[in-house]
């Protein structure tokens, strides 16, 4: 009988361990990572169909109604079933080890938070059989009240996923506050842990608001209530406020952990301490708090009281300051370093380069007069894909390659990794740069068809999408083959100083033979210290 605390090791022989209830944070972490990556591929497949339709003007492959269903589910799957929960996967595996703990504070809650995801995903995708949700991931009313039955299933699915997210956040916060090993003071926490704290606070504060709103929508659709009924005196703008109050912080939930991951990678691959540790840590918290104050920048053309818009423009621009602090600090980290361009580093550099474009165009969007022109156009589609795909997904890949040896006990193939990076970098830029132009020149978003003048831009975007879709192939092949038969990885192939590198690859059942005692920060590179690790990270 398999005990519920069986540890993670040798994936294929013990496949059953990964598809059953297991309270070990390392097993749960792998369950999250594999499940969410599968949804990434599904969301990507939906996008490939959309881009095929959009490669030519005219409605050929999908009619307007079908396109709306594909588009809605592409966005919803990517956001709620991939990019938000994938970081729970990383945090699950790494966070306890990084702070010297044996597991999460609440192992059963942890397993439960994972197990909400597969049924939620099934509910969202089987909605295609009853008329899938088609009002965009934003589900504006009154449109979403009128949608087919699948829209209700969509709401149920998102409620389940929000619950999973909140449960995970409670675990991360409690674990970090109460289970740190001796010597791991607040200012010695790895920046990935800081990032997860900032993220978890946002999840806890903002997600319940969306859940409440979804309940109201579901009641209007199913129980005849009139919360959003215009005839009964309801205000459609109410939904926008409720929705964006969560969904703007959500985008920081999607990117802050990624910033934490690249903060781990830059020092290791430059052989220097992280530059400005405290400011990077505090900037994560600043972005988290500020992120709760910007939401109405999604509503500048909604006709809300004009006086209300300017404060949101200000907060949306101010958030660029802590973001800039991070980018400059990362640049200063690699400056004067001994840079190694292995795949984790390549994806981290790609992250900065592409997130920058997303961030700069975010300032354009924050400026109300310009936003009035480009709101709800392909300019926004380009912006969001630069921050989410060029940004967050690059950081996910960076983390997957970086921690692959630790999680699987085997090393991936570096040449395939570099090929993946190249295809991903070119594909992302080719897909989304033309979209900025299309939006500025007059192409709205969420359209199955467009005026012929936008054809060449759309052809370029579709070519980029094909490249991006193909780029996942070397990664999938690499991951599977290396996990099965790759060379065995040592405890510390990257010569890192955070605690996960002080234990075997993969880690033993309770992570540490004895609780580590730490007396230095996690980024003390560049000093004359012995970097071949003994079993614990104790001082010399």
């Amino acid at each position: 009988m398999t005990s519920s605390r069986t540890p993670a090791s040798g994936a294929f022989q013990t496949l059953r361990r990964y598809i059953s209830w297991n309270t070990d944070h390392k097993v749960i972490g792998i369950q999250y990572l594999v499940t969410t990556f599968t949804f990434f591929l599904i969301g990507g497949a939906l996008a490939m169909v959309m881009r095929t339709e959009l490669s030519q003007p005219g409605v050929d492959l999908l009619n307007g109604a079908e396109y709306n269903r594909f588009m809605t589910n592409h966005g919803s799957v990517m956001l709620f079933l991939w990019i938000i929960p994938v970081f729970s996967g990383f945090a699950n595996f790494m966070l306890p080890i990084m702070i010297g703990a044996k597991d999460m504070a609440f192992p059963r809650l942890n397993a439960a938070s994972f197990w909400l995801i597969p049924p939620a995903g099934v509910i969202m995708l089987t909605s295609f059989f009853v008329g899938a949700a088609d009002a965009g991931w934003t589900a504006y009313v009154p449109l979403s009240i009128q949608s087919a039955d699948g829209q209700s299933l969509w709401a149920v699915s998102v409620i389940l996923l929000g619950t999973s997210s909140i449960m995970g956040a409670i675990n991360f916060v409690t674990t970090t506050i109460t289970m740190r090993a001796p010597g791991i003071t607040i200012w010695r926490l790895p920046l990935f842990v800081w990032a997860m704290m900032a993220t978890a606070l946002l999840v806890i504060m903002a997600t319940p608001v969306l859940t409440a709103g979804l309940v109201l929508v579901a009641l209007d659709r199913l129980a005849g209530t009139l919360f959003f009924s215009v005839e009964a005196g309801g205000n459609p703008i109410l939904w926008q406020n409720i929705f964006w109050f969560y969904s703007h912080p959500a985008v920081y939930i999607m990117v802050l952990p990624g910033m934490g991951i690249v903060s781990e990678i830059f020092p290791v691959f430059s052989r220097k301490p992280i530059f400005g540790y405290k400011m990077i840590a505090l900037s994560s918290m600043a972005i988290s708090v500020l992120g709760l104050t910007v939401w109405a920048h999604h509503m500048f053309t909604s006709g809300l009281d004009p006086r209300l818009r300017v404060p949101y423009m200000i907060t949306s621009m101010v958030i660029a300051v802590p973001t800039g602090v991070k980018i400059f600090s990362w640049l200063a980290t690699i400056w004067d370093g001994k840079i190694r361009l292995q795949t984790p580093m390549l994806f981290s550099l790609g992250f900065i380069s592409m997130f920058l474009i997303g961030g700069i165009t975010g300032i354009f969007l924050a400026s109300i007069p310009f936003d009035i022109h480009v709101h709800d156009t392909y300019f926004v589609v380009a912006h969001l894909h630069f921050v989410l795909f060029g940004g967050a997904v690059s950081a996910v890949y960076a983390g997957l390659y970086y921690w692959f040896p630790k999680i699987t006990g085997r090393m991936y193939d570096e040449n395939l990794g570099k090929l993946h990076f190249l295809m991903n970098f070119v594909g992302t830029n080719l897909s989304y740069l033309p979209m900025f132009l299309a939006g500025m020149l007059g192409m709205p978003r969420r359209v199955a068809d467009y005026a012929p003048e936008f054809t060449s831009l759309n052809v370029l975007a579709t070519m980029g999408a094909v490249l991006l879709g193909s780029s996942t192939l070397p990664f999938i092949y690499n991951a599977i083959i290396s996990w099965a038969k790759g060379p065995r990885a040592s405890a510390n192939p990257w010569r890192g100083l955070t605690l996960e590198w002080s234990v075997t690859s993969p880690p033993p059942p309770h992570n540490f033979e004895q609780t580590p005692a730490v007396d230095h920060g996690p980024y003390d590179y560049g000093q004359p210290r012995q970097l071949e690790q003994p079993a614990s990270a104790a001082a010399d």
């Binding site: 504006y140 459609p236 909604s302 840079i339 022109h373 900025f436 467009y450 560049g526």
Partner: protein
């Protein structure tokens, strides 16, 4: 910093400013402008492009330079230089973006005030969005059309609403957009500055026909507009 470094940085800064100004002047990414307020938005856009170009070049340039210059040479297993921070530098790269935010924010605010200053005696047209068509009501003449006809140089105030779901009225050539929301009336001001016919597109997902919910703004000379209006009124009697 050494004298040589100071000089090099100064030259670099001047070059970057020049490139930024050039980008702001030369950028041509917006549609042909056909409304008076669009010129103000265009000016703001050029300023944003200039600043964005400089920031982009500094960061991406710094990234590329760092990767090339500080790449580990074969056989070099030494560690990098062990500094943890520099308060002066961190202050500079916090303050300068903060100042830029103030500049951009203030400029945006001023542009916003200018483009939303009400006109004297505008011509009022009521706009109704309905899945999947736009209707234009001229209240004085009691006329309803499916295209928006206006005279050149005449201030217009659109009063927008919807009969069903949220739509959004967008004229790319005017750089102007406003949502049409059921149960509410929103307002959009413009004055056409070019003769011709300019697309109207719906910019808020409104159902299966969202992509084809299009119309035109037709800008006439004042005399032609009178003639058009007279003909419409005659035809509807």
């Amino acid at each position: 910093m050494s004298e040589r470094t100071t000089f090099a940085v100064a030259v670099l800064v001047l070059v970057l400013i020049a490139v930024g100004l050039l980008a702001a002047d030369q950028v041509n990414l917006l549609p042909a402008l056909a409304a008076t307020r669009a010129t103000e938005v265009d000016r703001l856009f050029r300023m944003l492009v200039g600043i964005a170009t400089v920031i982009f070049l500094i960061v991406e340039g710094g990234l590329v330079y760092a990767v090339l210059r500080f790449r580990r040479r074969k056989g070099d297993d030494a560690e990098g230089v062990a500094y943890h921070g520099n308060n002066a530098l961190e202050l500079v790269w916090t303050l300068i973006p903060a100042i830029l935010v103030v500049v951009v924010g203030f400029s945006s605010y001023r542009s916003l005030a200018r483009i939303e200053r009400p006109d004297q005696n505008p011509m009022v047209v009521e706009v109704v969005g309905r899945q999947f068509t736009w209707l234009f009501l001229y209240p004085q003449e009691g006329l309803t059309t499916s295209e928006l006809h206006v005279p050149l140089g005449q201030p217009v105030r659109l009063e927008l609403t919807s009969e069903d779901v949220i739509h959004s009225f967008w004229v790319p050539n005017f750089l102007a957009k406003r949502d049409a929301t059921p149960g509410r009336v929103s307002e959009l001001l413009f004055t056409a500055s070019q003769l011709g016919s300019f697309p109207i597109r719906c910019a808020e997902l409104c159902g299966a026909g969202h992509a084809i919910m299009t119309s035109q703004v037709v800008v006439h000379t004042p005399d032609d507009f009178e003639a058009w209006m007279a003909a419409q009124v005659a035809a509807s009697e």
